[in-house]
Point group: C2
DNA sequence: AAATGTGTTGACCGAGCGGTTAACGATTGA
DNA sequence: TCAATCGTTAACCGCTCGGTCAACACATTT
């Protein structure tokens, strides 16, 4: 009688996780109800608690999933290329990852802002990414205001800002900032920016 | 009988607004209850609705308040100084504002991420800030990836990232990233960064 | 055929939510 | 002096929240 699509067994668990991911990214943990998740997943609410202990666990599982793919996405540096190229390659792979997983940074930012209980896991992700940047930049960077950590944070900020502020940029951008061509242009800008920074670091070294 | 401090009349309204501001910044709109606000303001819950129509209005009033001071904080460019100095002055005043109103960006980011109903007001704030940047940078910037809007967004990202990611940076920073000396060092880094970008823009112009 | 285990369900729970209301004391103005 | 207004309160409302539970369908094992 119902118009529901036939549900394969065993996939309910994954559907719940995907729905939770989508909603947490869009509205933040606190603004999402378990009922919302169940409805989007086309699943009975009680089933959510059958597969996941509680709402908080659901968020943790979503983050864990990302943590894994985040680690995989960071391809190791290719030592046969120049440092400049290595940095550009790192930026490219980071942008690729974020474009493919735009929900990830939304959830991460939500958690960071709310100073939730999962900041520890996020910190691990940051440390991982930092060690990769350090690997490549350690020799070029300097001390104090030119310490690697500042460049790491600046890179992160440059990349992430675009996605965070997009909803408020449409007037300035004169259209959807997230369109394919605009994203491409933004990438070019970012590569240009780190090029200037790399030049500055080289000059400082000499 | 109660240990409550004597409350001057008329200040209850402001106390509510301040409490709301503090809590919205710390936990986000959805995660804050009117009871929380009333308790922090040491005020009866019903009084919140006496002064403010509802919870959403309270958030709007908080944002309006910031919108005003944000506009005031942007001192006009001093045409007697060089463009470089004008850009540095703009960065400094933006950093000053954000350090004095760190709750502001937290609330703004929360709203942007949640794509709430107040994005319109935030957009106005962004447009305002953008026009100031454009004023100073219009002649230097170029087209496509070197368009002013990209520099505007990059500046914003560079500045804001520090405050957003601070809670997850303590291991990398080897201590509180928000300490006075670390904030000073970060400022120096940012001035160094925009110096490199300005050099790049000049080179591109030639 | 009986027993067992797994996935799924609707009905239910207490707690907390945003918001309302009627009444009260203090202040003010006629 | 009396009435009106203002700031404040406790009690209450309907509703949604996260989470539980007993029962059920169904497949597998004994």
């Amino acid at each position: 009688m119902s118009g529901n699509a036939p549900k394969k067994k065993g996939e309910a668990s994954r559907r719940i996780l995907r729905a939770a991911e989508e909603l947490f990214a869009a509205k933040g943990f606190a603004a999402v109800s378990v009922r919302d998740i169940a409805q989007l997943a086309e699943v009975n609410k009680a089933l959510v608690f059958y597969y996941y202990e509680n709402k908080a666990t659901l968020l943790r599982k979503v983050l864990e999933q990302y943590y894994t793919s985040h680690a995989e996405a960071l391809s190791p540096a290719d030592p046969t290329t120049s440092l400049r190229e290595q940095v550009h390659a790192l930026l490219t792979s980071y942008l690729d990852f974020i474009e493919d997983n735009s929900r990830y940074i939304h959830i991460v930012q939500h958690e960071l802002l709310a100073n939730g209980e999962n900041v520890g896991m996020i910190r691990e992700g940051m440390n991982l990414l930092f060690s990769r940047v350090q690997e490549v930049l350690a020799d070029m960077a300097g001390d104090g205001p030119l310490h690697v950590r500042h460049f790491f944070l600046s890179f992160s900020g440059l990349v992430v800002a675009y996605f965070t502020y997009a909803p408020a940029l449409d007037e300035i951008w004169d259209g959807d900032p997230l369109s394919a061509s605009n994203r491409r242009e933004r990438r070019e800008h970012l590569h240009w920016v780190i090029d200037q920074l790399l030049s500055g670091m080289e000059a400082n070294q000499a």
